[in-house]
Subunit: 207 residues, 2 copies
Amino acid sequence: MSAGTERRPGRPSGPAARPGRPRSPAADEAILDATVELLGELGFLGLSIEAVAARAGVAKTTIYRRWPTKDDLLMDAVACLKQSHPEPPGESVRDDLIYMLTRMHDAWFEGRFGRVMARLAADGLERPDLYREGRERFVAPRRASMRRVIDRGIEQGRIRGDIDKEWVVSLLVAPIISAALTHQDALPKRQIEFIVDTVLAGLRPGG
Amino acid sequence: MSAGTERRPGRPSGPAARPGRPRSPAADEAILDATVELLGELGFLGLSIEAVAARAGVAKTTIYRRWPTKDDLLMDAVACLKQSHPEPPGESVRDDLIYMLTRMHDAWFEGRFGRVMARLAADGLERPDLYREGRERFVAPRRASMRRVIDRGIEQGRIRGDIDKEWVVSLLVAPIISAALTHQDALPKRQIEFIVDTVLAGLRPGG
DNA sequence: ACGTTGCGCTACGGTCGCGTATCGAAACGC
DNA sequence: GCGTTTCGATACGCGACCGTAGCGCAACGT
């Protein structure tokens, strides 16, 4: 979905060379980058095309030529966001969960990814579609891989099998998300261990 | 902090009768009510004095006479928000926690209180003071009374005593807050019971 | 009756962002 | 060189709000 060199938004298709000056890939990148940056700083409502143009060092025309409206630009900008998502090492269930929660915690509390996600959640009140895009892109795969770890815990007999796995995932990740979205401080490492240990102890078979 | 009949914002003080027509308490109420309503619908950034005046059926002048700026109006409107907060019946620790979480869940997912809190959290990114006001007013007392229930659980020997009670509270309430702030559906009653039971089982002494 | 103040209404200049248009210069294929 | 397209820059009309001012009228105390 990246507005890279071969894609020309607003054109039917065809990588065939057209006459005239080609669109600058540098401008593409600068615009999307400025959009993500400003989205993290100002949110959806506060973001203006003029500000994007100014920060990207680009004329408004250059933006409108590519994206007909602010919404399209935002959707593309969110869709272009990349975030590495390594699978857990796969040793013990407890260590894997702590590893994943720690990575998730850092993503939410450091760097621009967390800022953007917080903005998407906040602006999701007026733009559910935009939030859904971010959610599908970022949280869904993480929840899926966490569910896999829980499955492994069930197979190994460390976790009861008669429970809703989604509920377990929510129980594990909610303290981090809730803290990030309500402007709390970052969680100490001990608290993450506490979360994992408490939930695992609570779900022990025959408990 | 209510802009009631005896208080006259913008005046030094003194309930002594002044000459001239007194300010209409009905207007006070209509303005604050419209403000809260619009705050829940549009949020801080989307809210305009003109919209408040229109919905309250009041002239802009009438608003500016009372509150010099939009910020003061919002602070007063949030401060005036009321929310009943009954203590739990005090029977079993499990039932009390379920009772409190259920009430909290309904507050977040039904009625205007949840909408306003979600807005405050969202807008807290640009207005931390406004969010802090709402947090002090609504979530702090609830967390405190939940901590009391946990204390009771410790005294009764149902909960380990060597844990950070704030962490326990976070673990219990986070799934609800997180779901509300990320636009998930309401939690089924069973999930609330699952949360309480899992956490209590995980914190059983000698577990 | 009279002065004072609040009220709704209308209008004002100012700011900001929108989306469009126009301009000359620059970058391609032919 | 030529046509075509994009580029940056600038300007435009439009609409939404801002915060203020002026106008009659209404509601109080004296």
